[in-house]
Symmetry: C2
């Protein structure tokens, strides 16, 4: 007999079916036992005699045969897609036993460390699972939006040969008898490929050896990276970014109502167009509103990001805002300076509900200028010989942007910590298990 | 004026248009100059007066305005999608100059090392670009096929905490003050997620510190990994794998005729069903055919893989064959032993045109058995505490498979070396540039 999915049972009322899944809960009522069975499609109430389910506990994996029946009217559960049916079990096979979890998976109330210590288990909670369904939907729409705009997807490398954008946050890799690093971003590769495909994107892991523990940083995160050539102006980049973000939001709004509802949130509001402010203008506004004087800083502090988002919401009805024109000395060597004032760059960040979720900008496409800048940034041209070929042999005006996938989901769902939006988050103290548990600590092994 | 793509020019005959791209070639005919302009959509013949294109050389990036015209009948180029039109240029802007390549990009005849040394440039060749269009098509169809079968996509981690499947081929990472490694496979994570989503897949980079230089190994490659729970038998895994491979082939056959033609190949033939042979049966057949006696080996040698594919082609008209039942001691600790003979496993490789492109099998899903095996394989249960949760709390019978993306493309296009199918291949001597060029060699820096 072929197994059917739980959500299909409603179509089989009065018929014999086979289902399989995990025991989500067990309720004993004297001569009768109710099980909620969970599979990838949903939950189903199973009715069984005590002898049939004698040893069965929560999280046991079962295969159950029986008749799908209409529930009595007063027993209908309107909260469930299968709330009108139940399965009268007559044959149960235990596919796997399970230790009874000490955590209540149906009503998960645990601290973040416990949530992550028991990740393989806590991911079985419906609401936690929903985070990653939304994440995959966002990634999928990012891909579709860019393909529709003529972008080519590529696979960016993880192992890179040199320090490119400053060495502080790099993870070194022992690469045979050489030193190599984990990619901080696919930046140089996506630029190279603009010289080949004009418009490219990649969905790739990037790595930052971020020593400070914050609610917004991960050591390994997913970057949704796009780059496009033949731009008329750097505004094209923000326009494309805005379009993609809007399409992701609208896709999630259309397809993930149930999931959004679990978190009691709606997708971030944009009133027509995302407002665009220069960094210095933003800082002036923040100063006027709070008397906090960060007007000479080269970036926005976390509290400034929150404040300027408040402003954008009040003034423009938008929960997103572009901040532009970051100082040249604060950005990487390839960033295009503003011709009107070369102390500032044609770069932007996109803030959403108080947090930066995108960074982007126009790049220098002229070979000689780029070479000069590499030297000015005290980097070695020899290390960039491969990358520079793309510019030596003709590169159109170009630029791009990168969306942090986990941050995007964090902001959509109003999660407290970006770790909640990473399936298996890595940080200074954790790779799956807490690192202290391992005997491989560098100091101890004297490496 | 809005730029149009080159392939769109045919729709604008008699009208003024603007196009942009790279100069693919330049031909001077006295009072007239012909340029072939290349953009992401194709090639276009541009006619210009010498003064208009005075300084223009190959690979220059241009923006050109002019009238789209029908070519005289005898000038029509049936090889080009735009072969019936040409652009009579009257305004040309140089967007970027270019050094003239010493390599002929139109007729690329270079050795593999040169091809890779100049990757940013050689990728501009039409045929080289086609390899990666086919690769993205294969990846895209892998995703679509599995989504249609109810699989959930996830993002696998790259940084992993422990040696899982033997330490020899691992790349160590300095992870803050700890030792960590680059993932050899997403195996443990996809199994964990079967406990959550039942059916999962991931498209992820994996890393093997393979010291030998061969035409089939890369240090960093793309793994198309799938895993599914609630299987009735391990044959389900081969059936799913076969279905996905067939759909990838048929998708490429439908969408990439032009690209296949460039390589003079057709997609690998399967006559109805891919044949399935046990390793020992295959070795016996090879012995009978060649008198080469590898009947006691635990795996097939490269020459054996070629021979058994020859056999499958002759006997079954299939360029693919499954080899099953590899010895237990040769496979990882989680592989499911054959109940009929536990010295062999319910595992398989899929060979295509003489090369292994897939590996897979059923996994042990019983917690106690798995724990026992970890000890038997002389691994530390403490290192697997996180992973083992998935089994401790109930795991259905499950298994999966992994396709090597670059190998798949290599075999479809009959490429000589797997490096040709990797955009930026990494091996013992190369990360973009040849490693010897860097001052970071471990021995020299005495790290």
């Amino acid at each position: 007999m072929q197994r059917i999915l739980i959500t299909e049972t409603a179509k089989y009322v009065g018929k014999r079916v086979k289902v399989a899944g995990w025991v989500n809960s067990r309720r004993d009522h004297g001569g009768i036992v109710f099980l909620d069975l969970r599979d990838r499609s949903g939950l189903l109430q199973v009715v069984a005699t005590p002898d049939l389910v004698k040893d069965v506990k929560e999280e046991y994996v079962l295969e159950i045969e029986g008749e799908a029946q209409q529930r009595p009217i007063k027993m209908v559960n309107p909260e469930l897609a299968t709330g009108q049916v139940e399965l009268k079990a007559d044959k149960i096979e235990i596919l796997a036993k399970a230790e009874t979890p000490s955590i209540d998976l149906k009503d998960l109330k645990v601290s973040l460390p416990v949530l992550l210590d028991y990740r393989p288990l806590t991911l079985r909670n419906k609401k936690i699972r929903a985070i990653f369904q939304i994440e995959e939907e966002a990634i999928s729409q990012f891909r579709e939006s860019l393909k529709n705009l003529g972008f080519t997807e590529f696979q960016a490398p993880v192992i890179v040969p040199t320090v490119t954008e400053g060495g502080a946050e790099l993870f070194p890799v022992k690469y045979y008898e050489y030193d190599a690093y984990l990619a901080q971003s696919p930046q140089l590769y996506k630029q190279i490929l603009v010289g080949v495909f004009e418009r490219v994107f990649t969905i790739t892991k990037v790595f930052r050896a971020e020593p400070s523990v914050t609610t917004r940083h991960l050591s390994e995160y997913l970057s949704l990276d796009a780059e496009m050539g033949f731009i008329d102006s750097w505004q094209d980049l923000m326009d494309t970014c805005e379009r993609v973000i809007k399409e992701i939001f609208s896709d999630i709004e259309n397809k993930c109502q149930k999931e959004l509802k679990m978190f009691g949130v709606s997708i971030p509001k944009i009133n027509q167009k995302i407002p665009r402010l220069k960094l210095r203008e933003a800082q002036e506004i923040i100063f006027q509103r709070t008397k906090r004087d960060n007007r000479k800083e080269n970036d926005l502090e976390p509290e400034d990001e929150k404040e300027i988002c408040e402003y954008a919401k009040e003034k423009y009805g938008s929960e997103l805002i572009f901040i532009t024109h970051f100082p040249t000395k604060k950005r990487p060597f390839y960033t295009f300076p503003d011709p009107e004032n070369p102390d500032y760059t044609l770069s932007f960040d996109l803030l959403c509900r108080g947090l930066e979720i995108v960074t982007g900008g126009q790049r220098i496409h002229d070979y000689e200028t780029l070479l000069k800048n590499i030297k000015k940034w005290q980097l070695k041209p020899a290390d960039f010989k491969f990358y520079l070929q793309a510019f030596k042999y003709g590169m159109p005006p170009e630029g791009g942007f990168a969306i942090g996938a986990e941050r995007l989901v964090k902001q959509i769902l109003n999660l407290e910590n970006v770790r909640e939006a990473s399936l298996f988050p890595r940080d200074t103290i954790r790779i799956d298990q807490r690192l202290i548990a391992f005997k491989t600590k560098r100091k101890k092994s004297k490496k």
